[in-house]
Assembly symmetry: C2
Homo-oligomer: 215 residues x 2
DNA sequence: ACGAGTTGACTGACTAGTCAATCGACTGTT
DNA sequence: AACAGTCGATTGACTAGTCAGTCAACTCGT
């Protein structure tokens, strides 16, 4: 406090107020919901003055936008990475499911906010970020299409639909945890990953065989 | 109109203002969202005075509660009915999927409101009506459990999870239509019903066989 | 003339966003 | 070493506007 002053300067000093505001916002949004909370709640939670929130963000909306885009970029990057690294379709889907479930396990509040306030908000942020959300569906659909091309997945189920069902199943699980309808804990998270992949692939893979008749 | 007066009286006369308000609310909630709209928007849409809304409903919330409970009761009754009528597990699930998809097909706005504003609103109405929502999951889970008992479905996949995945898949499809990510129209609706059941059952039915190994 | 149904101006409470003032770390000057 | 100046970070009182819900009055059928 009295010894070193130069080495710190602006970079260290305060634990980055902007970050503190974002982290506080996650907690507040998760507990009260974006619409129900006040900007002052965020400022209080962050231990910062009301006005400082507007020094770093143009509006309440921008805070949520930032949180979503920050995290979603990581998701998209992960899906691309997984698609390039893994070879087995099932392994790819399992890796994606793992990433999402692990994200929830690591920071439940953040995932709750992203899903409840953005991904499923058809009248507000969901529309704003529709392109980003769709990007994820498309990347997954591409994986399914490739799997169909190499004969690993049935060809008579639309890839877009499969992607929607797969991602939707994962999101529904998170929703189950968010609503407290599903037991939480690492063991359950691991099992959940397997269950989603098993359920979706069991209905997609030709390996299943002998059950391709539509009607 | 001039002949019989007693049979009509208050019941006929105006097309039931209360109903008009509810119907208008569906449109307004669907277009603007529950939080974004004003009560005056509902009154205007219904062609009714602002104050009359409060003559029939205690609050803005109560309007949405009414819409949800009204429709959800029908859903629960249908699931119970289907469970009693049908015998094949797959037929039961198909009947449930049909009812929900047909509900959307018949009144997209109402289903959008119920899903977006209630079923997926973890911080507001979703909590309020959690018991009702859970009831649906439980009824579906019971169907799965029965199917497992008679050997039609794999026993190693938790019934609660299967129910969540099944219902979640349906809801995700509706979301796809709501967001405009999926093509609409009767033909697509019919195919969607088949796809959901095929995907979920393909992963649940023992008929699939030869693919039961967990890891 | 009674009252259920209906009206819409109004109130009370709330909050997103603004802004002028203050703080404090650092610089250059003497 | 003392000091004035600079500028981004920080503060919180305040403004401007919004909107859910109230209520006194009016309409009209019987």
């Amino acid at each position: 406090m009295s010894a070193s002053r130069p080495p710190v300067a602006r970079a260290k000093n305060g634990p980055d107020k902007r970050r503190m505001i974002l982290d506080a916002a996650v907690r507040v949004f998760a507990n009260q919901g974006f619409h129900a909370c006040r900007v002052s709640d965020i400022a209080d939670e962050a231990g910062v003055a009301y006005g400082l929130v507007y020094h770093y963000f143009a509006s309440k909306d921008e805070i949520l936008d930032t949180l979503f885009l920050e995290r979603w970029a990581v998701l998209l990057a992960t899906i691309r990475h997984v698609d390039a690294e893994e070879t087995e379709p099932r392994a790819k889907l399992h890796a994606i499911a793992s990433f999402i479930v692990d994200s929830y396990s690591h920071d439940p509040d953040l995932m709750k906010v992203i899903i409840v306030e953005v991904t499923r908000a058809a009248n507000s942020f969901g529309q704003t970020h529709l392109a980003q959300i769709r990007e994820a569906y498309d990347l997954i659909a591409a994986i399914v299409t490739a799997a169909q091309a190499e004969g690993a997945f049935k060809a008579d189920i639309d890839a877009e639909f499969a992607a929607l069902a797969f991602y939707g199943a994962i999101e529904q699980m998170l929703t189950g945890w968010i609503f407290g309808l599903l037991p939480r804990g690492e063991e359950h998270y691991e099992r959940a990953k397997w269950l989603v992949v098993e359920t979706v692939c069991g209905g997609l893979e030709t390996t299943t065989a002998g059950n391709t008749l539509p009607r």
